[in-house]
C-alpha cells in the first residue's frame, strides 16, 4: 500500500476479511457451477454422439485366407457353418464335399445319388430344406444342414485336452472346438433325404429347373419339366398331436408353358415368398411372372429386366424374404426388383414388378456379375464379379458397404455370407477364399435416416419408422422423419391452442387484473405448471379422448362460436346506455366470461346441425372419405380465413368511407350501426366461404387426406388441447413477468395521452416486452418439443406423416420412451434411437439458441429505455 493516499486523507476502515473471503468463495462457486453446467450438457452431447457415430462408419472386407481347390467346376451351392470352421460345396452331379474352411482339407464326401445324378436342385436360404429333381420326373425333398452338439467329456480324446479355446480340430466326421467355458462342441454336416416324400411328375419328364420356398404349413416347390410344363407342388404338413407323426398332403397346379415368341425353356425358375409368384427368367432379360388370377395359374406380367439388348443376365437370386430378387448382368450392374401393388397397375392381379434399386460399383467397373451371396438375416448381399472382385451391398439403402477389387485371381463362381454376417466365402476355379467382414450397420446412411427410402413392397420411396415387425424377414425401417414430423405436429397443435390463451392471459393479468387478484392468480397458475405431465396424459387418454370422440362436431363448432359470441358480446355492450356502461366498466370482464358458456351452448346446439348439413350426418364417416362431398371441409377451413380477411377489409379499407358518414351519429345509433356492420360482415363471410368452398369442391380438391383425415381416438386435437394446457403455465409466467417489467412511466405516458388500457397494452406494453414474450414462447416451444408423457399416452404413437388434426402421430421423445428399453444394446436400432435423442437435443438446442439470439436483439433495443 502507498504510504499516503492521493487525496491526502487516509481511509480509516478496512473491508473485513470475512467479507472478502465470502466474496472470493462465492465467485469461485459460481464459476465452477456455471462451467459445470455447460460441461454436463456438453458431456451428454458428446455421449450421444459417441453412441451414434458407429452408425456411419463404413464396412470393410478384410484380407482373404485362400485355400486351393482341386475341382474347377462351378458348384451349385455352397454353405458355411455359423462358427466359420467348415463349409460344403454341392456339385452339379449331386456330390457334396464337406471341407475345413481354414485348411481346405476334405472332411467327408457325400455321394447320395451315385447312380442317377439329379437333373436339378433347389435349396432354401434360411432353412435347411433342399430338393433334387431327377430325369425320371421324380423329386426328392430333404434337409441339408450343419448341426452341433457338445461332446461327453469321456469321449474326448486325450490329445484334445490341451486345445486352445476356439481352435478347430478334426474329429470323426466333424470338427471340434473348445468353447471358452471348456466344453467341446462338435460340428457335423448331414444330408437327410426324405425319400418317402418323393413326388412325381405325371406323365414323367425330366425336371430341368426347380425352386422351393417354405411356407408355415410346409414347403412349396416349383418344377419345370423338359416338356415345358410348370408344376407347383405344395406340401401341407399336419402333425397328429396324439401319435406325434406328421402327415403330408400334396396339392398343386400345373400349366403348360407357351412362352411368347418361341422362346426356349427359361434359364431360371424362381418361386417367390409363400409360393405367390413363379418367375421364369431368360438370359436376355425377359421375365414372365406367373400368378394366380381367380385361382387359375397363368402368366400375369412380362418384364424386360435389362432394358438393353446387348447385355445378358449373369446372376439371379432372391434375397432374404424371397420377395426382392437381384439381377446381375454382364455389364456389372445389379438391380433389385420386387412386386408392388400400386393404385393403378395395369396387370391382371394388380401387382407390378418394379426395379427399385440399382447397386453400382464404386469405381464404375463393368465386369460381369457372376454370383450373389445374400445374407439370410438382413438385406445384405455379397456380390462376386468376373474380374475376381467382391463387394458387399445393402439392398434397401442401395449402399455399397465394402469392396475388395482383387479378392480372387479368377472369376468368382459362388459366394456366400457366413450366417453371422462376419465373413464372406468366395469360390473360383482354383481357390476358396475366406474374408473377414466388418459391417455393423450396413443399412444406415444419412439418406436412409432422413430421406425417403424405397422399402420392399412399397409403391414408391417413403419416410417410414417401423423398428420391429412380426416375421424374420421383416426389415426394420428406421427413418427419423416421421418422428420429427410427429414432434413438429405435436408442438404446432399445442402451440396453436396454448399460445393465444397463455399470452392473452398474461396480458390480462399484467395490465387489467387487480394487483391483489393477480397475487393469487399467478401462483395458482404456476402450481399448474408442476402438475405432472403423466397425469395430464392420463386425463387426455382416458377422459378427454373418449369424450371428444363423441362430440367431434361440437368441438369443431366451438372454435367458431366462442370467438363470434365474444365479438357479438362486445358489440352488444356498446348498445348499453352510456352511463350504465361506464359504471359497470369494472365488471366488463365478467360479462366477457359470460360469453364463453353462451358460445359453448351455441356450439352444442349448432354442432349436430352442422354435422348433418356439412358432413353428411356422420362426421366420422365423412372423415373416412366414405360419405359426403368435400364442401364441408373447405367451409370449415375457409371460414376463419375469410372472416379475418373480411375483418381487415372492413376495418382498414371501408372505415375511411364510413367514418365521415357516421361521425355525426350519436353513441347508440353508432353502436347499432356497428352491430349491423358486424352481422353483415358475418353474413358476407358465410356467403363468400360457401362460394369458395363450392368452387374448390368443384375443382376436385378435398381437405380429407390433408388437414382432415380418418378419425382416430387419440389424435392431434386431444394432444394439442392437453399439451397446450401443459405449456400455458410456463408461457404465462414468463410472459407476465416480461409485461410487468415494462416501466410504468410508459404506461402513464400512454394513458395520459388518452389511450385505453387495451390500446396501451397492445401498442406500448406488448411491443416493449417483445423480447420477454418471445423467450416465453420459445421456452414453451422447447417444453412442447421435449414433452414425452402426454404424447406417449394421448397421441396414439402411430408414426404416420399426416397433418390431419384427427390422426395420431409419434414424437421423437415418445418413441424413445417406448423403444429404448427394448432395444438391443449397440444394435442399429439402439444407435438410431440415440440419434433420435441427438436430433431432439439439436431441435431444442436450436429453438433455445434462436430464442436467445432474438431476445438479445430485442433487449438491446429495450435497454435504452
Amino acid at each position: 500500500m502507498p504510504d499516503k493516499s492521493f487525496t491526502g486523507v487516509e481511509r480509516r476502515r478496512t473491508t473485513r476479511l470475512s467479507v472478502r473471503i465470502i466474496d472470493r468463495v462465492a465467485r469461485v462457486l459460481i464459476t465452477v457451477g456455471g462451467i459445470g453446467t455447460i460441461l454436463a450438457v456438453l458431456m451428454i452431447m458428446v455421449f450421444l454422439i459417441w453412441v451414434v457415430v458407429p452408425l456411419f462408419t463404413g464396412g470393410e472386407i478384410g484380407e482373404g485366407a485362400t485355400i486351393p481347390r482341386s475341382n474347377a467346376e462351378a458348384p451349385l451351392r455352397m454353405g458355411v457353418d455359423e462358427y466359420r470352421i467348415m463349409g460344403f460345396l454341392l456339385l452339379r452331379n449331386g456330390q457334396i464335399r464337406v471341407y475345413r474352411l481354414d485348411t481346405g482339407e476334405t472332411i467327408e464326401t457325400l455321394t447320395p445319388f451315385a447312380d442317377t445324378p439329379p437333373s436339378s436342385a433347389a435349396m432354401a436360404r434360411s432353412s435347411p430344406e433342399v430338393a433334387f429333381g431327377f430325369p425320371d420326373g421324380s423329386m426328392v425333398p430333404g434337409r441339408m444342414e450343419f448341426s452341433s452338439r457338445f461332446l461327453d467329456k469321456a469321449h474326448v480324446p486325450a490329445e484334445f485336452h490341451d486345445m486352445k479355446p476356439g481352435e478347430p480340430r478334426r474329429f470323426e466326421s466333424g470338427m471340434v472346438q473348445k468353447t471358452p467355458e471348456g466344453q467341446y462342441r462338435i460340428q457335423t454336416f448331414a444330408l437327410t433325404l426324405e425319400e418317402d416324400r418323393t413326388a412325381r411328375v405325371e406323365p414323367p419328364s425330366p425336371i430341368v429347373r426347380m425352386d422351393l420356398t417354405i411356407k408355415p404349413t410346409g414347403p412349396v416347390y416349383a418344377l419345370l419339366t423338359e416338356d415345358s410344363r410348370i408344376l407347383i407342388r405344395e406340401a401341407t404338413e399336419k402333425r397328429n398331436l396324439l401319435t406325434g407323426r406328421t402327415r403330408v398332403t400334396w396339392s398343386g397346379d400345373e400349366i403348360a408353358l407357351n412362352p411368347p415368341g418361341d422362346r426356349p425353356l427359361p434359364d431360371r425358375v424362381l418361386l417367390s415368398d409363400g409360393g405367390r409368384f413363379v418367375y421364369l427368367v431368360w438370359r436376355d432379360g425377359f421375365l414372365a411372372r406367373l400368378g394366380r388370377v381367380e385361382g387359375e395359374l397363368q402368366i400375369v406380367e412380362t418384364v424386360d429386366l435389362l432394358r438393353d439388348d446387348d447385355a445378358e443376365i449373369t446372376a439371379l437370386s432372391f434375397i432374404t424374404g424371397k420377395s426382392t430378387f437381384l439381377v446381375g448382368d454382364s455389364r456389372g450392374r445389379v438391380r433389385a426388383w420386387f412386386p408392388v401393388r400400386p393404385e393403378r397397375s395395369g396387370t391382371l392381379d394388380g401387382t407390378v414388378l418394379t426395379n427399385a434399386h440399382e447397386l453400382l460399383t464404386e469405381d464404375g467397373s463393368v465386369s460381369p456379375v457372376t454370383a450373389f451371396g445374400p445374407s439370410s438375416r438382413a438385406r445384405l448381399v455379397s456380390v462376386g464379379y468376373a474380374d475376381g472382385s467382391v463387394r458387399l451391398f445393402h439392398v434397401t439403402s442401395g449402399k455399397l458397404v465394402a469392396a475388395r477389387p482383387t479378392a480372387l485371381a479368377q472369376p468368382v463362381q459362388t459366394i456366400v455370407i457366413t450366417p453371422k454376417e462376419d465373413g464372406i466365402v468366395a469360390v473360383s476355379r482354383r481357390e476358396i477364399a475366406t474374408f473377414a467382414v466388418l459391417a455393423e450397420h450396413p443399412d444406415v446412411s444419412i439418406v436412409s435416416l432422413f430421406g425417403k427410402v424405397w422399402y420392399e413392397g412399397y409403391p414408391e420411396p417413403e419416410n417410414v419408422w417401423q423398428s420391429t415387425g412380426g416375421t424374420d424377414a421383416f426389415e426394420p425401417k428406421l427413418g427419423l422423419v416421421p418422428l420429427i414430423f410427429g414432434t413438429v405436429k405435436a408442438t404446432l397443435y399445442s402451440m396453436l391452442f396454448g399460445l393465444p390463451i397463455a399470452l392473452l392471459a398474461a396480458i390480462f393479468a399484467s395490465e387489467f387484473l387487480d394487483p391483489r387478484a393477480k397475487s393469487m392468480v399467478k401462483p395458482t397458475i404456476e402450481i399448474m405448471a408442476s402438475l405432472p405431465s403423466v397425469v395430464l396424459g392420463f386425463l387426455a387418454a382416458l377422459v378427454i379422448a373418449p369424450f371428444v370422440e363423441d362430440i367431434v362436431p361440437h368441438c369443431l363448432t366451438a372454435f367458431f362460436t366462442i370467438p363470434i359470441s365474444l365479438m357479438l358480446g362486445a358489440y352488444v355492450w356498446q348498445l348499453l346506455p352510456r352511463p350504465f356502461a361506464i359504471r359497470m366498466g369494472r365488471f366488463r370482464i365478467f360479462f366477457m366470461f359470460l360469453c364463453f358458456p353462451i358460445g359453448l351452448r351455441a356450439a352444442a346446439m349448432l354442432g349436430p346441425v352442422i354435422e348433418s348439413a356439412l358432413f353428411a350426418g356422420d362426421i366420422r364417416m365423412w372423415l373416412d372419405g366414405q360419405r359426403g362431398s368435400a364442401f364441408g371441409g373447405f367451409a370449415f377451413l375457409l371460414f376463419p380465413m375469410v372472416g379475418v380477411a373480411m375483418l381487415i377489409l372492413t376495418t382498414r379499407g371501408l372505415d375511411f368511407k364510413l367514418i365521415p358518414m357516421t361521425s355525426h351519429l350519436d353513441r347508440v345509433p353508432l353502436a347499432v350501426f356497428d352491430l349491423c356492420r358486424f352481422l353483415v360482415t358475418l353474413l358476407l363471410t358465410l356467403i363468400l366461404t360457401a362460394l369458395l368452398a363450392f368452387i374448390l369442391t368443384r375443382a376436385g380438391l378435398d381437405t380429407r387426406g390433408a388437414v382432415f383425415g380418418t378419425y382416430s381416438q387419440r389424435n392431434a386435437l386431444v394432444v394439442g388441447f392437453v399439451m397446450g394446457f401443459a405449456i400455458i403455465p410456463i408461457i404465462f409466467t414468463i410472459a407476465e413477468d416480461a409485461l410487468s417489467a415494462v416501466p410504468d412511466h410508459l404506461r402513464s405516458a400512454s394513458l395520459g395521452a388518452g389511450a385505453t388500457p387495451w390500446q396501451t397494452a397492445i401498442r406500448i406494453v406488448v411491443p416493449t416486452a417483445m423480447s420477454g414474450l418471445f423467450s416465453a414462447v420459445m421456452i414453451g416451444l422447447g417444453r412442447a418439443v421435449g414433452e414425452t408423457m402426454i404424447v406417449l399416452m394421448a397421441a396414439g404413437n402411430t408414426p404416420i406423416m399426416d397433418w390431419s388434426i384427427f390422426s395420431g402421430f409419434r414424437t421423437l421423445s415418445a418413441n424413445l420412451a417406448v423403444e429404448l428399453p427394448e432395444a438391443v444394446r449397440d444394435s442399429t436400432h439402439y444407435r438410431t434411437l440415440f440419434l433420435a435423442a441427438l436430433t431432439l437435443f439439436a431441435m431444442t438446442f436450436v429453438v433455445n439458441s434462436v430464442a436467445e439470439v432474438v431476445r438479445a436483439r430485442f433487449r438491446r433495443k429495450a435497454v435504452q429505455l
Binding site: 387487480d514 394487483p515 352510456r578 352511463p579 361506464i582 359504471r583 382498414r652 372505415d655 375511411f656 416501466p743 410504468d744 412511466h745 410508459l746 404506461r747 402513464s748 405516458a749 400512454s750 394513458l751 395520459g752 395521452a753 388518452g754 389511450a755 385505453t756 390500446q759 401498442r763 406500448i764 411491443p767 416493449t768 433495443k861 429495450a862 435504452q864 429505455l865
Partner: protein
C-alpha cells in the same frame, strides 16, 4: 400500476429576488405554518386578479386521500384559459397529486379516494358518467422524466392520433410537423423522423413528449417539472416553448425553479402540506405576496 417515483429536488438557493418581506402585512408566519401542520383549517389567499380571467378548469373544495393519509385539503382554484399557471411548493406538498387529479391519472392508484369537484370547461371531471378516456384526450400531460415510447419519432408524435384510429397519412404527417414545430424540435429531427425516439438526447426527448402532448390539441396542458432533468440550455428552450404555447394552450405546470416560475408563468399557486396557500398573478406572488410564508418560501427561507 403506480406512477413513476418523483425525484425530490433541492430548491435552488441562489435565487436573487428583491425580498418583499417588508411589504408583507402579516407577521405570524411560523405559528401559521405550525397550525397548518397541526391540521387546522386554512383559508386560501386567492388574489383578485384570478377572478377577472375566464376559467377553463375550476377546482372546488377538492380533497384527496392516499388510503388513510390525506394529501390534498380543500383545494379551490380556477385555472385561467390560455394562461400559464405554475404550481410551486416544497417537496411532498401535493403538487403532482393535484396535477394528476386533473386528468384522473390518480384513478390508477387503488388507494386513492377523492371528495369535491373539478369542472373542465364547465363539465364535471369526476362525475359518474364521465368517460375517463375521452377526458384524458382533452388534456395533454408531460411528465417530470421524459418518457418517449420505444418507437420512431414520428410514431411517438402521432400516438394520440393513432389511438383515435386515424390512419390518413397526410393528416398524420401534417400533425407531426405542426407538433414538432410547436415544441421547437422540428429543425433538429425533421431528417430522422423514422429513427428511434430513444436515440434523442434528454432535452430533445422531453420536447418530443411535449410535441406528443400538443399533437392531441388538448384544452389543458399539464406539465410536472418538465425541466427538472435538463441542463440550462434545454431548460431555456422549453421555457421559451412554454412561453410560445401561451395563448394557444392553457398550461398548468409544476416547478421547483422559482426563476422558471417567474419567467414563464402568468399565475402562480403556492402549496404547502396539501393546502393551497396563496394564488395570484406571478408578479404579485413574487414581488408582493400577501402572506409571509409565501415570501419566505420564494426567498428560500424554508422549503
Amino acid at each position: 400500476m403506480g406512477t413513476p417515483a418523483m425525484t425530490v429536488k433541492a430548491v435552488p438557493r441562489e435565487i436573487t429576488m428583491q425580498a418583499p418581506v417588508a411589504r408583507c402585512a402579516d407577521q405570524g408566519s411560523i405559528s401559521r405554518l405550525a397550525s397548518i401542520a397541526a391540521g387546522e383549517p386554512f383559508e386560501t389567499d386567492t388574489h383578485d386578479a384570478i377572478g377577472t380571467e375566464d376559467a377553463v378548469l375550476e377546482v372546488r373544495d377538492f380533497k384527496l386521500w392516499y388510503g388513510e393519509k390525506q394529501a390534498l385539503f380543500d383545494i379551490a382554484m380556477n385555472i385561467p384559459r390560455g394562461r400559464v399557471t405554475a404550481l410551486i411548493g416544497p417537496s411532498g406538498c401535493g403538487k403532482s397529486t393535484l396535477l394528476r387529479s386533473v386528468n384522473r391519472m390518480n384513478d390508477l392508484i387503488d388507494s386513492v379516494r377523492i371528495d369535491g369537484q373539478m369542472l373542465l370547461s364547465g363539465e364535471s371531471v369526476y362525475g359518474p358518467e364521465v368517460d375517463v378516456i375521452e377526458l384524458r384526450k382533452r388534456m395533454g400531460m408531460v411528465f417530470q422524466k421524459s418518457n418517449p415510447f420505444p418507437m420512431s419519432i414520428f410514431e411517438n408524435v402521432v400516438y394520440p392520433l393513432r389511438i383515435d384510429g386515424i390512419r390518413d397519412r397526410s393528416v398524420l404527417e401534417e400533425v407531426c410537423e405542426r407538433s414538432l414545430r410547436g415544441s421547437a424540435l422540428w429543425e433538429e429531427v425533421k431528417d430522422r423522423l423514422k429513427d428511434s425516439a430513444l436515440g434523442l438526447s434528454g432535452g430533445q426527448q422531453q420536447r418530443l413528449c411535449i410535441a406528443r402532448a400538443i399533437a392531441a390539441e388538448p384544452e389543458v396542458l399539464l406539465m410536472d417539472e418538465p425541466c427538472s432533468a435538463l441542463d440550462p440550455m434545454a431548460t431555456g428552450r422549453i421555457e421559451d416553448l412554454i412561453h410560445e404555447l401561451r395563448g394557444a394552450y392553457t398550461v398548468l405546470m409544476v416547478t421547483h425553479n422559482m426563476q422558471q416560475a417567474s419567467r414563464t408563468s402568468d399565475y402562480t399557486a403556492f402549496m404547502y402540506l396539501g393546502r393551497l396557500i396563496e394564488y395570484g398573478a406571478t408578479e404579485d406572488i413574487f414581488l408582493n405576496p400577501h402572506l409571509r410564508e409565501t415570501a419566505d418560501y420564494i426567498t428560500g427561507r424554508f422549503g
